[in-house]
């Protein structure tokens, strides 16, 4: 896993370098300072950091052979990762509505490639976490309650995306019904799932979960760099550039 993470360092290092090479090179808008919403991204960054905390608590519990607690924190990590993906879907949708696509300018191309690949990595991580939650789940009914919790979380996500108009053909009432139904299913499944006493020896899975955790934390540290370089620094730096280009266009016209 460490070798793989080393190769991933070079992969994301190249993508971030490419973003920086083409920074402030766009001749047409939208420019970063016009479109990037730093407060929302700060919240999503916080969510991803807290998912890393949940991940390390999950590993800690599994190493202590605490099956239910470990499974709870794994699912919490997956949920926080899914919320982060929801933020990213919302952001991409907003950018598309504002006219920023991968083909409109260099900022759009480099931004979507970089953050898109990161989002893909988070998606893989969420799937991996759900598999690990299944691995340390006792056989039988408990697996079905786990499935219920996942479906409930999915319904909540669909509802939230509907309310945010990312899913356009879902009315507000329909979105609220999705959220409410998803919450009921998730809470019921969760109560049933975690009430089952288990004597499963989950400590034997600590090594496998450690590998999953390494991947998840790596995805987190990549976002720490992206948040600083792409959002905070670039949005701050591009203000003068975009103003110069816009004033030049007005002067020329």
């Amino acid at each position: 896993m460490w070798t793989f993470l080393g190769s991933e360092c070079m992969f994301f290092g190249s993508l971030i370098a490419t973003f920086l090479v083409y920074r402030n090179q766009s001749t047409t808008g939208p420019f970063p300072d016009e479109i990037i919403d730093v407060p929302i991204t700060t919240v999503s960054t916080f969510v991803l950091l807290m998912s890393s905390l949940a991940m390390v608590l999950a590993l800690n519990a599994v190493q202590r052979n605490q099956a239910n607690l470990g499974r709870f924190w794994i699912l919490m990590t997956a949920l926080l990762g899914t919320i982060f993906l929801g933020f990213q879907a919302f952001e991409f949708n907003e950018f598309f509505n504002e006219g920023l696509t991968p083909r409109v300018n260099l900022f759009g191309t480099t931004f979507f490639v970089l953050t898109g690949f990161h989002g893909a990595h988070v998606t893989v991580g969420v799937i991996w976490l759900l598999v690990m939650a299944g691995v340390i789940t006792p056989k039988g009914l408990s697996a079905w309650t786990l499935l219920g919790a996942v479906l409930g979380a999915y319904a909540i996500l669909v509802g939230i995306l509907g309310l945010l108009d990312v899913i356009r053909n879902l009315s507000d009432v329909g979105a609220v019904i999705f959220i409410a139904a998803g919450a009921v299913v998730m809470v019921a499944a969760g109560l049933k799932h975690f009430s089952i006493p288990t004597k499963l020896n989950v400590a034997s899975q600590a090594g496998n979960l450690e590998v999953t955790a390494l991947y998840w934390h790596f995805v987190d540290i990549v976002w720490i760099v992206i948040f600083t370089v792409v959002y905070l620094v670039s949005a701050n730096d591009s203000i003068e550039t975009s103003e110069a280009i816009i004033s030049g266009l007005h002067g020329g016209g």
Binding site: F46, M50, S52, Q63, I221, L232
Partner: protein, 154 residues
Amino acid sequence: MATQRPESGGSRPGLLSRFFWDSDHRYFQLPKTYAEEANPEGEGPLGTKPRPWAKKWWDFTGGDHPSPLFYVIVGSILGVITLLEYWLFTTNLEKKWINSALFALSSAKFFMVVAFFMHLKFDNKWFAKLFAAAFFLAIGIFLATLALADKLNG
């Protein structure tokens, strides 16, 4: 599926066999890590043998097993740093100072996650060296790309 060790006819297995199989049915003879044990020693954030001056901190963080509270404290610090970054972004300080501070805070978060959450501080040193080598190679590629672009753009 369990890996079967090849029949060696009682003689010492060859180099290839030793690389791909061993008595634990592991594919590669990588060094064993604490993660393979249920209750490993030396899992604390200060390693297996804490310095005398670090004993108090060692006890607070749970000794061999960092307590969940320790991780919550690290997570809280990461959250506070993120809020601090946002506050810096909204200030009217000179940009070079803002950017320098942002990179410093980002680096602090990066190394806190790697050291404490990824357990690199108390994992096998082979892995730490492997990751560090790849990380610095990535930094080299990163800087070379920027330098090349700078040269080409005049």
